[in-house]
Symmetry: C2
Subunit: 236 residues, 2 copies
C-alpha cells in the first residue's frame, strides 16, 4: 500500500450564508454532479481504491469551516467500514442471490412505517436498527452499485429528494448539525449485483460516549418508526 | 440471547464539585474497588457475559450528569469491539505464544519514546497508532487478563498512577472532557494467557466527523511520541 491520497473540498455555493438544504434545486444538482465528476476523475489514478464523499454540517458534526461544503477523500485502500458492509452484502447475495438493499427497499415500501419520503426514483427511510435518533438512509429504488453511474434524471430526482429530507430534518430538529456519507462501491469494482449505493444521513443530536466507544453498540432512545412518522408529518 | 442487562452509576465522591483527578488517593482507590466489587457481584448472574465500565467526563464526552461518576453496563453478550480485540489478541498468541500486550509493554519500555509514566506495577503510554490526540493506555506490567483479579497492592498502585495521568492531562490540555473505558476479559473467561486488561483513556479534543464515520479510520494530527513527551514533561 502507498501512503498516498487526495483531499478535496466541494464548495456548494458562492454565498457564504447559504445552506445546502436551502440552495436552489439546480445548485443542489450541480453539487451532486461535482461529486460524480471528481470521483470519475480520481478513478483514473490507479493508486486510489476508494473515494469517500461526506458532509459535516455544524460544529458538533465536526465542521471546521462555516461556508457550506462537502469533502472528498481518495484512499489507497478500501476503508474497513466499507469493506465490512461489502462483505455483509456479499454474504446475503451468496445466500439469496438478491441484493440485501433491494430486499430492504421492497420490505420497507410494503410496511411503510419507516419510510420518510419516496420520489419516483429514490426512497428515504429510517433503517430498522439506526445508531442515532433520526438517522436516515437514502437509496435509489432500482439496483445500482455505484454513485457515479447514475443518470441525469437520477441526479435531478436525488437533488429534490435530498433537499426535501434535509428540510424536514431542519424543521423537525431546529437545524441540527449533521453528517452524511455516500456509501458506494470501490473504484473499478463499480458494477456488481450485491452492493447498492446509498447515502447515510445522521443528525448529531448527542455525543458519542464511553459505552459506544467501548462496545461498538449505540444507545438510541428514538424508535425509527417514530422518527420516520415525525419527519413524514412535517409540512414543508 | 436475552434482552437483559444492568446499568449502574458509580458516584465517585459525595462532594458535588469534586473531580476524579483531584480526589484524595484513598477515595480513588475506593472507586477502583467499587468497580471490582460490582463486576464480581454481577458475574453471579449467569445471563451476563460482559461488564463494561467507563467514565464520561464533561459534556463533549457525553456526560449528562455534572457530579463526578462512572458507569457500568452489564450485557448479555460480549460487545463486538471487545470481541474483535479478543480475536486479535488470540491470533497473536496462536502465532507467537506470547500475549500481544506483554510484547507491547516490553517494546515500549525499551524504546521509551511513547511512555507517559511508569509506576512499579503499571505503565501509561501513548499507543503506537492512537485514534485521538493524547489517547493514553494504562496497563498492568505483569500479565493479567481480568480487572477484577488485581490485588490490594495493584489497586493502590493504579489509583496513584491513574490520578497522576489525569492530572497531567488536565494541566496539559486545560481540563479537557474525556472518556475512559476498562477493557477486560469476558465474565467467566477471566484467566487466559492471550488477553491483558487495560484502560483506554481518550481526551475529547475534537468531534468525530464524516470521514471517521464513513471509513472507520481516525485522523489524528498529534504523533504519539509528541503527546507522550508533552505529558511526561508536565511538572505536577
Amino acid at each position: 500500500m502507498n501512503g498516498i491520497g487526495a483531499h478535496e473540498v466541494i464548495i456548494e455555493s458562492p454565498d457564504h450564508n447559504a445552506t445546502l438544504a436551502a440552495l436552489p434545486q439546480q445548485a443542489m444538482e450541480e453539487v451532486l454532479w461535482a461529486y460524480r465528476d471528481r470521483m470519475e476523475d480520481l478513478k483514473k489514478d490507479r493508486r486510489f481504491h476508494y473515494t469517500l464523499i461526506f458532509k459535516n454540517e455544524g460544529l458538533a458534526a465536526g465542521a471546521t469551516l462555516e461556508h457550506t461544503h462537502s469533502q472528498l477523500i481518495a484512499l489507497p485502500i478500501v476503508p474497513i467500514q466499507v469493506q465490512e458492509e461489502l462483505d455483509g452484502c456479499k454474504r446475503h447475495y451468496d445466500l439469496k442471490e438478491r441484493c440485501i438493499f433491494c430486499d430492504i427497499i421492497r420490505q420497507e415500501i410494503q410496511s411503510g412505517s419507516r419510510v420518510v419520503f419516496e420520489s419516483s426514483l429514490f426512497i428515504a427511510l429510517a433503517p430498522y436498527a439506526p445508531r442515532f435518533p433520526f438517522e436516515t438512509w437514502i437509496m435509489p429504488k432500482q439496483h445500482m452499485s455505484c454513485y457515479a453511474s447514475a443518470t441525469n434524471e437520477e441526479y435531478r430526482d436525488l437533488a429534490a429528494l435530498l433537499q426535501n429530507v434535509l428540510r424536514r430534518i431542519d424543521q423537525a430538529l431546529s437545524y441540527p448539525p449533521y453528517n452524511y456519507i455516500i456509501h458506494t462501491s470501490p473504484l473499478r469494482e463499480e458494477n456488481n449485483d450485491y452492493y447498492h449505493w446509498h447515502i447515510e444521513l445522521m443528525p448529531k443530536l448527542k455525543n458519542v460516549a464511553g459505552f459506544e466507544w467501548g462496545s461498538g453498540f449505540y444507545i438510541n432512545p428514538t424508535p425509527p418508526e417514530e422518527a420516520a412518522k415525525f419527519l413524514r408529518d412535517i409540512k414543508l
